[in-house]
């Protein structure tokens, strides 16, 4: 294993708090792809909430913290296009005029990847053996799609999952209305957007909704649950890692322990 890459997992706030299974799924997928995985304990948040709220000072402070914690690894992998996009596209922007930080920010950006695209584009996985019985539709989370160009990668891997059929919704690339703080700052507009999204999902007849970002997943899962639908909502990593038996879908009832 000496030449297998040393990969740090950037867990992300929402996975840490809401959906640890996604973190374990990421570790499993990375290890199976031949990586040595570490989870630095000093990690917190990538700083995106501050950045998008116009608070550059806190955004920079958090970015510095992330750079510090993660700079020593071969790769940094993030199970989210949104947090991944923050590190990959916005850290260089944050430090563009800072001659010292610019280099380290660019260096970290260059080795940071969203989980699924890391598996396909860097580790060159074309097939992951997994089984999932269901008809799934895939939502393209905005940052992953437009900042990182993630579109085909998850679909390619999902096609290899035994028992799973992919059925596209009409507008998989339209935002679900989460938008970080947007969903609490403009809840009515956000609700309209997620209502349209759920209608689009329901129209496919799929029983499962997959996506690579926890924010969008919480939003869509919460809406479909409020509407009384019983679509199984999961992070794509859970399916690829074959970890759907160990935990119920997002927002679904759990068995008594």
């Amino acid at each position: 294993m000496a030449d297998s890459p040393r990969v740090a997992l950037f867990v992300t706030c929402l996975v840490d708090l809401f959906r640890p299974t996604v973190g374990f799924a990421a570790v499993k997928l990375l290890e199976e792809a031949g990586c040595r995985v570490e989870v630095p304990a000093a990690q917190t948040c990538c700083g995106q909430p501050a950045f998008n709220s116009g608070d550059r000072d806190n955004a920079k402070a958090l970015a510095r913290q992330v750079i510090d914690v993660f700079k020593g690894f071969d790769y940094v992998v993030v199970p989210s296009g949104s947090c991944g996009g923050m590190i990959k596209t916005h850290y260089p922007e944050l430090f563009a005029t800072d001659p010292i930080m610019a280099d380290v920010a660019n260096a970290l950006a260059a080795k940071t990847f969203e989980l699924v695209s890391f598996l396909t584009d860097v580790m060159k996985c074309d097939h992951i053996a997994a089984r999932y019985d269901g008809v799934a539709t895939y939502h393209d989370a905005c940052s992953g799609l437009r900042e990182l160009g993630i579109k085909d990668q998850p679909r390619r891997l999902l096609k290899g999952v035994e028992g799973l059929t992919l059925k596209e919704m009409a507008t998989p690339e339209v935002c679900c209305g989460f938008g970080g703080t947007f969903c609490v700052k403009y809840p009515e507009i956000s609700d309209k957007m997620v209502s349209d999204k759920v209608a689009d999902i329901v129209a496919t007849g799929a029983d499962t909704l997959l996506c690579g970002d926890m924010g969008c997943l919480l939003n869509m899962a919460g809406k479909q649950s409020r509407l009384g639908k019983s679509i199984r909502v999961r992070h794509v990593a859970e399916v690829l890692a074959g970890m759907t038996d160990t935990t119920p879908p997002i927002a679904a009832p759990r068995e008594k322990r």
Partner: protein, 473 residues
């Protein structure tokens, strides 16, 4: 127009509850994007064309003074006149002055957002000159005493039943029980009514999609041909344009026109592209006797050299509106001023102030679809974020939000504290959530839980589970 951008939330609330508007928006959301995508699929070199267009605009912005002066020189050489106007008031007065000198009673108007920006119609009317909008959409909003809700499709917020109603209320000389349920029929009716107005107008006012420096010409594109009648029939033609519309050559304009039509409506080219150069010459069979260009700054030059300079590349194609999920949810009027959607969210604060328009750059999920379709690749989300930074620096953002952010950042900057908070929160929430797996109400996020459930955390936080696992191994 008195801005209501500060009331964006209330405006949006009304819009979301308006069934006609929602029906109209449903149609818009599907129509425009599909047509644009098809047009671009037919032109493989679209992206290369984009780069060419951007280079043209960037070059002009870097040499704006030169091209504007060249433009003026050539307008004058063709027998026309250029009026340089610093702000809206000066532009209004200049136009009224031209109308007065010509003894004009009525003016016909082609579609012009700059005319909305300077609130020209109200001003002319108050001063005894009657403006008649001749673009069908503009005409509809004018007779309804509304403003355009979209920069290229002014009446896109209406369904055809509402238009029929307005036609019956306005065209009272026609039989009240005439059938008006088809768009074609309404179009013909408007055409007949407008024909008389074209013929009686003293002055025609149009906007400009482009001003051509090398020839001193102005270009407009329409799909109805109304612009041609507006500018050729009356005695004088006034072109009202903001100064960033200038491009060096006709060749440059044609590059941009190819981008414009595809991005806007998915057409290869607009139905009518009209180039006007100076007033009627001795051997011309028709045309206006006078040709004026009212060149408006109104805050544009203040954008030069700053973080919003790229906005001056905008060719007003409306692709960003057509693809914006927020615009698609609430329509253009909710934005509370002339420009709406992503381009409005960036431009409006710089034209009427961030104090009034602060909501607009905030009401975005940063989904980035606007930037991805913008033919000029204007970094709209980045610029909205720049506005948020200015707001934050000036403490204009809501206090609760600022405090929430400060508390969160305090914790996030202290990894041990953060791990503890995260472990506690996920633990408590998952216990409270119990076997339901979700919350129907949750304090602090009522905006969310009013309309959707909040999924409950699975159990202990990832980091605490991971730490326990590491300890074991």
């Amino acid at each position: 127009m008195q801005p209501t951008s500060h009331d964006f939330k209330a405006n949006a609330h009304r819009a979301l509850g308006d069934p006609n508007l929602q029906r109209a928006m449903d149609m818009m959301r599907t129509g425009f994007p599909v047509n644009r995508a098809a047009a671009i699929a037919r032109l493989p070199e679209f992206d290369a064309l984009r780069d060419e267009g951007i280079a043209i605009k960037n070059h002009v912005i870097a040499n704006l003074d030169f091209y504007l002066e060249t433009f003026e020189k050539n307008v004058v050489a063709q027998g026309g006149k250029v009026h340089w106007c610093r702000d809206a008031a000066q532009a209004r007065e200049t136009i009224l002055g031209i109308c007065r000198d010509a003894g004009a009673k009525t003016v016909t108007k082609g579609k012009s957002m700059v005319s909305e920006e300077i609130a020209l119609n109200d001003y002319l009317e108050a001063n005894g000159v009657t403006p008649v909008e001749t673009d069908l959409g503009e005409y509809i909003v004018q007779i309804r005493h509304e403003t355009p809700s979209h920069i290229i499709a002014p009446a896109v917020h209406l369904v055809k039943e509402q238009v029929a109603e307005s036609f019956r209320a306005t065209h009272t000389h026609l039989p009240p029980d005439r059938p008006l349920d088809e768009a074609r029929v309404m179009c013909d009716e408007a055409r007949t009514v407008l024909r008389a107005k074209f013929l009686s107008a003293d002055i025609g006012i149009t906007g400009a999609n482009f001003l051509i420096a090398e020839t001193g010409s102005s270009i407009i594109v329409t799909n109805e041909g109304n612009g041609d009648l507006t500018q050729t029939l009356p005695k004088a033609h006034i072109v009202l344009a903001s100064l960033e519309k200038v491009v060096p050559t006709l060749e440059d304009a044609s590059t941009l026109l190819r981008l414009l039509a595809r991005s806007a409506t998915g057409q290869e080219f607009s139905t009518y592209t009209t180039v006007s150069t100076g007033p009627r010459r001795a051997d011309d069979t028709d045309g206006p006797a006078a040709y004026h260009v009212v060149l408006l700054d109104n805050g544009r030059t203040a954008l030069l050299g700053g973080e919003f300079q790229d906005m001056l590349r905008c060719i007003r194609c409306a692709a960003c509106l057509n693809h914006c999920p927020v615009y698609g949810a609430v329509g253009g009027h909710a934005y509370g001023w002339v420009y709406s959607g992503p381009m409005g969210a960036v431009l409006t604060p710089s034209l009427i102030g961030i104090e009034e328009a602060g909501n607009l750059p905030n009401a975005s999920t940063f989904c980035g679809r606007c930037e991805s379709v913008c033919p000029m690749r204007i970094p709209l989300p980045r610029m909205m974020r720049s506005w948020r930074e200015r707001e934050f620096a000036r403490r204009l953002s809501p206090q609760a939000q600022r405090w929430g952010l400060a508390v969160w950042a305090y914790v996030a900057r202290r990894p041990r504290l953060y791990r503890w908070v995260s472990a506690m929160t996920s633990h408590i929430l998952s216990l409270v959530g119990g076997t339901r797996g979700r919350f129907r109400t949750l304090p602090l996020v009522a905006g969310w839980t009013d309309t959707r459930d909040m999924p409950a955390p699975e159990g202990r936080s990832f980091m605490s589970q991971w730490a326990a696992r590491e300890k074991r191994s």
